[in-house]
Structures are given as C-alpha cells and as structure tokens.
C-alpha cells in the first residue's frame, strides 16, 4: 500500500521500535528479569492481503490479546502468538519452571496483561510522539486459528475498503525463552488522514 511515503513508513517503524522498547523496559521491571523485544518487519496491507498473510505466515493455532483503541486513529490492535508457545511465554513471565499442559484462566489473564502492556506502549508512543491523543480499551485474551482469525479480529466489520492493516513482526526473548509473535493493528482509514498529517508534520519539524 502506498498510503505512506518511504519516509513516513520509516518513521512508523522507528516509532514502533521506540514503543516496544518502552514495553520491554516495563515488562523487565515487572518480571524482574531482562525482557528483549525487537521489530524485524512492519508492513501495511489491505484486508484481503491481511487475510492471505494470516493464512500463509501465521501458525495454524494462535493465542492472542485484543484491544480496541480510538483517538487520532481508530481501530483494534492484537498481539498474536503460536498457541503452543503462549504458555511457555506466560511461564517465563511468572518465573514458573513447570510447563503445565493446559492454559488456565489465570494464565489467560497474564497473557492479556502482557498484550495490554505491549499494545498500550506501542499506541501511546505513537500518539505521544506525534502529539496526538489516543484512548485504549481493556484487553481481551482469546484463542483462535488462522482461518478464524479474520472473524476474531472483526476484520470485515465496516467498510473493508477503508480498513488498513499494519502487521508487525515482533521477537520476544526472556529467560531462555525466545519466540516470534505478531502485532496486527486494524486501522479505520477514515482516521488515516489524521495519521498521515501527524506523520507529515512530525517529519516537517525534523527538517
């Protein structure tokens, strides 16, 4: 999608890296151990492209956390992991050595908080750096599969032509555990103008 110029795209990548860096710092303090996060890849895609990408790139069974947001941009954000490894991540977070066979409601909640911290930091950093406002809802954890994901994320609600998906790869590393997850931001394009303008004025200030 060529909604954004190369400079604007780079700026978003930079802001996302700043956001996950802050999230990593917050998580490190929370679990009292070093948490490393990085963003190796970021792309803007349309809803049909997102559907294909979910199907081709994501593992078949997923655990995730979703949060609605509104403000200078509106939409939903989700953190997605391979389901099989979500429990490993929770165990690493709470410093539990036993790997249980089944995720319980408490672990679901822990996963939700992990996603909450990550998504909040990404969205807040984006908003703060661009001198914009954003409000986030409370997180909700879910389990789904790649085929059901578009429905779980409510990708088709509203006008798909006016929906933009920002898909971000994210690498986690904590306590000998390393795994790759995805952040998906489903952005209502009616709000994209504000986004583009905010990016442009940020870049203009830099010059």
């Amino acid at each position: 999608m060529d909604l954004f110029s190369a400079d604007e795209h780079d700026l978003i990548v930079e802001l996302m890296n700043l956001g996950v860096g802050r999230a990593a710092h917050a998580l490190s303090q929370l679990v009292n151990d070093e948490v490393l996060l990085s963003v190796p890849r970021l792309e803007f895609i349309s809803v049909p492209e997102a559907q294909r990408a979910f199907h081709d790139d994501l593992p078949p069974f997923l655990a995730g956390v979703m949060q609605n947001f509104e403000g200078f941009i509106n939409g939903r954000a989700a953190l997605l992991f391979p389901e099989a490894r979500s429990l490993e991540l929770v165990n690493a977070m709470i410093g539990e050595e036993l790997s249980a066979d089944e995720i319980t409601e408490l672990e679901h909640e822990t996963l939700a908080e992990l996603g909450n911290i990550l998504l909040n930091h990404c969205l807040a950093t984006l908003a703060n750096q661009l001198h914009q406002q954003i409000k986030t809802d409370i997180p909700r954890a879910f389990n789904t599969n790649a085929d059901e994901l578009t429905r779980t994320l409510n990708l088709h609600s509203g006008d798909t032509d006016n929906t933009l998906v920002m898909l971000v790869q994210i690498d986690f590393s904590l306590r000998n555990s390393a795994l790759r997850g995805y952040l998906a931001f489903i952005i209502d394009l009616h709000s994209a103008d504000t986004f583009v303008n905010a990016l442009r004025s940020y870049l203009a200030e830099l010059l």
Partner: protein
C-alpha cells in the same frame, strides 16, 4: 391498541428504562469504582465498602492512594494514573501482581484473609471517567494451585513408572520414590523399609537423604514395642507420630532424630498383591505435625508405586530363577552351571587355584521309575538333590543337567584328595535308601571327577573329561568314583 408483539418488543426496553443503574452496580459481586480525571473516587459500590471496611462517604472524593497511603503497589498506582490522565485501559493480573489492593475476605470460618484479585481499569468513552473493576479470583487461584500440584505429582509419578517399566534396579526406583516425596513435601526426609527374609524385622532399603540413618544393625523388630513404622505395618494404615519427642517408642532413636533434625514420623504401609504388607514408606518432617489431606494422598500413592516396583522386582527375580533352575529339584540348571563354571574358571585362573568338577549319574534310577512310577522317581530325585546340597559349601554348585544326571562344582579344592573325599560322601548319601511311605527306594551313583587345571583348562574339556570318567566308573562296577589321570 398495542398488539402482543409490540408489547413483547417494548417490555424489555421499559424495564431497562426503569432500572436504577446505581442499584445494579451495588448488587454486583465484585468491586466497582468510578474515578474522575484526577483519580478521585466519585462512585464506589457496596462490595468495595464491605471489603475495605470504609464507609461510602469516607471513600468519595478520595484517591485510592489517599485511602491506602503507602500500601498501593507502584504498578497499580501507575496504571490508575495512566488510565485517568492518558486514557489507556489496563489489566493487572494476579500472576504478575500478587498484591494489589489491601482487601480482605471472610472465610466461611469467619477469619479475615487477603483477597486474591485482578483489576481492570477502563477509561470510559464520551466522558472523563474511568471505571475500575476489582475481581475476586480467590477460587480461581485455589483451582490453579490444585491443578499445578496435581500436575506436578503426575509428572513425578510418571518418571517413577518409567523407571519401573524400563527395568531400572529396585534400589534406584525406591530412591527415586523417596526423592519425589522429598520434592513435594519440603523439609522432610523419607525412607523405604522392607520386611526382611525372616519376616520378623523391618530393614531400611532406601533412605537417600538420611546419612547415617542405618537400621541394618538395629532394625525394627516387629514383635518388640511398637514404633511408628511397625504400628503402620501391623495396623495396615497410615501411622502418625506428630512429635517424636513426646513418643516413648522413639526413645532409642532420639539422638539420631535430633542429629538428623527429625521432628515427626508419618508411616504408610506398603501393601503388595494379595493384601500382603511388605514394608513401610516413612516420611520424617523437620517440623512437628500431622500430614495434610494432600500429603496423605501423596504418601498413599508413593507407597502404592513402591509396591508396584517391589512386585515387579519379585516377578523378575522369579522369572530369572525359573530360567536358571530345575523346577523339580530347585537346583541350578545347565545354563546357570555354565555361568558359574565360566566365572569360576576365570577366578581360579586369576588366583592360581584348583577346583573340581564331578559328573554324577544315578545307577538303577530307570528301574525305580519303571517299577514305582514317575512320581516316586521325582520324589527320589528331590530328596537326593537335597542330600547332595547338604554335603557342599554354599559357594559350591550342584546342578541337575538331565533326567538323573547332576554336575557338582567344588569352587576350590586344596588337593585332589579333598575332591575325592567329597565324592565319597556324595556316594554314601546317594546310596542311602529313601523311605517313601512303605517303600524303601535305593539307588547308587557313578561319579567322574575332573580337576582344574591338571585335567583341563576349559569348561568343555573339563565337562567332557568328567563325563568320560563317569562312564569308566560305571564300567568299573558302579557306586564308585573315577578320575582319568
């Protein structure tokens, strides 16, 4: 007039319109707070009042930080401020925040306990307000702990079962059972005690973390005064001594107990097949007290695992015995003889010693079988096998290798004469009549002797030579021994 469908369509709306939302919030089984943009409480429901002990009027207009000065964890404070000021929704989960609000819950017994909780902080749309929900997840925490404990036990149990299934030695399986319990009941040592062969004493078989706790010398006699373990053995149920300093039966071991920091003893009988008590699984906590329900279950399960391991061990021993012994006489068979012979050859060679091999064939046995039947023949063989064994030392071997053929191996001999002396005694005991009811059964034997190293240095050579010598003894009139030299 309204139709019925209109009515059904309107009724819920009417009901909802007339609902008092404040009332609804007060009746919720969970905490609800509304905060303004400065984090001040502008609404709190009854749940919050009853779990904090504050009145509504005390809470209104205050921030949580003012209500609980110095008691709010920084993460909670930060989350509330971020939500009220920056409008970011937050979830604070129990697993990452074991302490959130200092709330108390009443147990059914009336005691106050800290309330396990998770907190949802949600900035409301179209207003500056923030909704704080506090969820009591005490039961979920209990379920989780229960589940984890169960999983842990299952995992350890599986490890023990795998050891049993892969045929690890009994010692290592019992050690593993002990260390399993020691992992699950911290600050406790364990031991497995088994009934000895005499059936009158319990002896320690495994006690991996009780150095110097050795009852081999002074084992627990079952007919003496009852200790915790012998009590468990005899009553066939868990025996508990919650404080060994107050138990007279522990008097003889009090110093040992002090040295090993043992304060109590819980003993679970190990019950094998056919309800036979074969030992005791003992747990020695460093603190006084009785086992909890889950600890009782654990002791039962581990004692059961021990009985499975013992049962398997017994069966393996039995199978091994059957594979290497003659079922009629219980004497070693040809396989075991070959094993002993091979081992003795290497030993004698290494130590430069002599040993003797005797091939023994009964004279006139076929006649007894023909005249009095196979049962009589079998009985005779059993008695004669016993008599021969009586003539030998424990380290010698007497094997039955055919119908009426035996091989005796004297593990060491000082001279050829000591071998012939034993041969004479064997001839004598074999030719002594055996009384069977009114019948007196009598045979004799022909014995061929071969000596290591004079007559041969391999098992085959020695056996062949002894066999040949036996035939020569037969040719020389039977009831005698012969050595080819």
């Amino acid at each position: 007039m309204q139709s019925s469908s209109d009515l059904s369509g309107n009724c819920p709306n009417n009901i909802l319109d007339n609902l008092d939302c404040t009332d609804l919030l007060h009746s919720l089984d969970g905490g609800v707070l509304l905060l303004d943009a400065q984090c001040r409480i502008i609404f709190c429901n009854r749940w919050f009042c009853s779990h904090t002990g504050f009145t509504e009027s005390r809470m209104l207009g205050q921030t949580l930080n003012q209500l609980f000065p110095g008691q709010l964890p920084p993460a909670l404070q930060d989350a509330i401020e971020t939500a009220c000021h920056q409008r970011l929704g937050r979830l604070l989960s129990y697993q990452l925040h074991k302490r959130l609000l200092p709330l108390q819950r009443r147990t059914p017994g009336g005691e106050s306990r800290p309330l396990h909780q998770s907190i949802l902080i949600q900035p409301l749309s179209r207003s500056e307000l923030t909704l704080v929900q506090c969820l009591d997840i005490t039961n979920a925490v209990k379920r989780e702990q229960h589940l984890r404990a169960g999983e842990r036990i299952l995992k350890l149990e599986r490890k023990v079962l795998e050891l049993i299934a892969t045929g690890d030695s009994l010692d290592s399986v019992l050690d593993e059972i002990c260390s399993t319990v020691e992992q699950l009941i911290p600050h406790a040592a364990t031991a497995v005690m088994l009934l000895d062969e005499s059936g009158s004493q319990l002896r320690i078989k495994s006690s991996p973390s009780l150095p110097g706790f050795n009852l081999r010398e002074d084992s627990l006699a079952l007919n003496g005064s009852l200790t915790t373990c012998t009590r468990a053995f005899q009553t066939r149920t868990l025996a508990v001594t919650h404080d060994i300093r107050q138990d007279e039966s522990w008097q003889p071991w009090r110093d040992t107990a002090t040295r090993l920091q043992i304060a109590a003893c819980w003993a679970q009988p190990i019950v094998a097949a056919y309800d036979e008590v074969v030992g005791v699984f003992a747990c020695y906590p460093q603190h006084t007290g009785s086992p909890s329900e889950s600890e009782r279950q654990l002791l039962q399960r581990m004692a059961h695992l021990a009985s499975i391991a013992l049962e398997r061990h017994r069966r393996m021993e039995r199978i091994r015995f059957l594979a290497l012994h003659d079922p009629l006489t219980g004497l070693p068979n040809r396989s075991l003889l070959n094993e002993h012979l091979g081992r003795n050859l290497r030993r004698a060679h290494r130590e430069g010693q002599q040993f003797a091999l005797m091939f023994i064939d009964l004279d006139g046995f076929k006649l007894i079988n023909d005249r009095h039947g196979h049962d009589a023949g079998d009985d005779l063989l059993s008695v004669l096998a016993g008599r021969m064994t009586d003539q030998l030392r424990g380290t010698d071997t007497c094997a039955r290798i055919g119908g009426d053929e035996f091989v005796v191996m004297l593990e060491t001999v000082q001279s050829p004469e000591s071998a012939t002396q034993v041969a004479d005694k064997i001839l004598q005991c074999l030719s002594t009549p055996v009384q069977r009811g009114p019948l007196s059964l009598q045979v004799s034997a022909s014995i061929g002797i071969a000596l290591y190293p004079q007559d041969g240095t391999s098992a085959d050579a020695l056996l062949t030579l002894a066999d040949d010598a036996m035939y020569q003894a037969k040719a020389r009139g039977k009831n005698c021994w012969h050595r080819i030299s």
